[in-house]
Symmetry: C2
Subunit: 325 residues, 2 copies
């Protein structure tokens, strides 16, 4: 399988690249070997990425808004495009014009270039697109399921949903074979500013593991949806190899995620990392609480039927997240 | 009121321009006088448009995809932008790339330029955006209402829905004050190819009035949603002057429309125009029937509450449509 991966320098991208290059039944695309992997990002100088010393790897560093960069990226086509590159939510809110350029226009340009680069006789190639639960907006109803109306409440979610619609149109037109999956919180991201408003879910891991005090910007009762990094990569790989006929009309699904309170997350991390949960104090910010800490129970029958999975239990999620910290 | 009108050379645009320039309580914006009207279209050489010999009128001919044309159009700002210009459904299906350029990218660029041209101290200006029932897609459920999922089944509808989402985001960001209204069939359009797949609804008017035989490409039992040209312009003017707080979350509504069968439409036209309904024969095309002739009952509580109206009865619709033929 020949693969293109954008956002390869990011948190999820790097972990996915490792998985794709790994041998054995859990490596590659669920055991199907990867023969070529194009890693793309604004820069690829990160030591961890530089360490991908593998003859199958091609590196393309540059801005996907640049047509030349796109052309280099898709040259020769591929079987799967993982499009993870994005300007994240907080950064998109601060610079909506850049969000349009990256998250909307650049994404459509890339998918169209990818479709055009394929062998004329080949079927439409798979695009795995990481959308977001931000397409749902807030306030959310008492339960969220596949019938919940999509009303994004921030620019990031609006642009992601616009791309979902465009992908469904590309699918009808036979350009690509898209699978759009809406990610919730991925645990645990590296510490420090990432432009993600939901960074607190990850920051609490780093604080407890380091035995540092942490002031959580949402309340103990705040509820979040999340999956571990490893489970996220499991789902991305599944999205690349599944039959697209398993996807519902519309071509996008909200991925299964565990719904739990911050208090229960803090308890599980403290227990499994051997830290004192009292290191965490709470100073809720009303805006963050409304946007990221008021998640109702989540039902995802379409994604479940299509074979996507969450971590099972909060303990399993935390254990997995701690292992990739 | 200072107004910009794109698509001024089109069927609806011309009728709207006439209304805006008319004196009296039914002219202008429901009696509010229009002090400046910028008419924009690819070309404005049409004799009817050339006849707008009015000191208030400014003409801007050119492609809205051209930044210079957009700059001329929005120079000095305006109180209301009516954005009617679009590549219609059939043409968009034949050239999806051009649809993206016109119906998506060019539209967003125009709205952003309009927002940037406003006086810094002025509130966000109104944008009236003509969306389409094509955002609903097909097959449709047994009844369509404001909770019906939006799953466009053609490029035109996908791009229109993407713009609805972008407008809702612009509203949140305080750039503009948008009112997006989804139009169904407008009767009766001029005869001849217009790029609209729904042209049959209008062509049957012209045939019966001219006592010409007409082969209808949908069945007698085919059901359509429509409003008269005059009622459409009533709704456009209402969209320009209404309080935006009357619009539902999301900022877009499906306009009220009468739902009726082709057979009842043919009967009403024949009766009111004194023609023989037997001039119409039927040779249904399965694709057209599915996309344009299978409309279930329509409920539009959000638009009703916001003050939009349909024609009341099929006879009233046909009478109004015949008067503007």
């Amino acid at each position: 399988m020949r693969i293109i991966l954008t956002g390869a320098g990011g948190f999820v991208g790097r972990h996915l690249a490792h998985r794709l290059l790994s041998p054995g039944p859990n490596g590659g695309l669920n055991g199907r070997p990867v023969t070529r992997l194009v890693l793309a990002d604004l820069e690829l100088a990160d030591p961890e990425l530089a360490a991908f010393d593998d003859a199958r790897v091609v590196r393309v560093a540059g801005d996907l808004s640049d047509a030349d960069v796109r052309a280099r990226l898709v040259a020769g086509g591929a079987d799967v495009l993982f499009h993870l590159a994005a300007l994240p939510g907080g950064a998109a809110a601060r610079d909506p014009g850049l969000s349009r350029k990256v998250n909307l226009d650049g994404t459509l340009d890339l998918v169209e270039a990818f479709a055009a680069a394929k062998d004329a006789a080949a079927p439409p190639p798979r695009v795995v697109y990481t959308s977001t639960i931000a397409v749902l907006g807030h306030p959310m109803p008492a339960t969220v399921d596949d019938a919940t109306p999509l009303r994004p409440a921030m620019t990031y979610g609006a642009h992601k949903l616009m791309v979902e619609l465009a992908l469904a149109d590309y699918r009808r037109r036979g350009l690509v074979d898209p699978v759009a999956i809406r990610l919730s919180g991925i645990l645990a991201r590296p510490g420090g500013a990432t432009g993600l408003k939901s960074a607190f879910m990850s920051d609490v891991f780093h604080a407890l593991v380091a035995r540092r005090p942490y002031t959580c910007p949402v309340s103990p009762a705040a509820t979040i949806w999340a999956m571990s990094l490893d489970r996220c990569v499991d789902n991305l790989v599944h999205a690349a190899v599944m039959e697209s006929g398993l996807m519902p009309a519309g071509g996008a699904v909200t991925l299964p995620a565990l719904c739990f309170s911050m208090e229960s997350l803090v308890g599980a991390i403290a227990r499994l990392a051997g830290a004192d949960p009292a290191l965490v104090s709470y100073a809720p910010d009303a805006g963050l609480e409304a946007a990221f800490g008021a998640h109702p129970p989540l039902e995802t029958p379409a994604a479940d039927a299509a074979g996507f999975r969450h971590d099972g239990t909060v303990d399993a999620l935390v254990e997995s997240a701690l292992a990739t910290l």
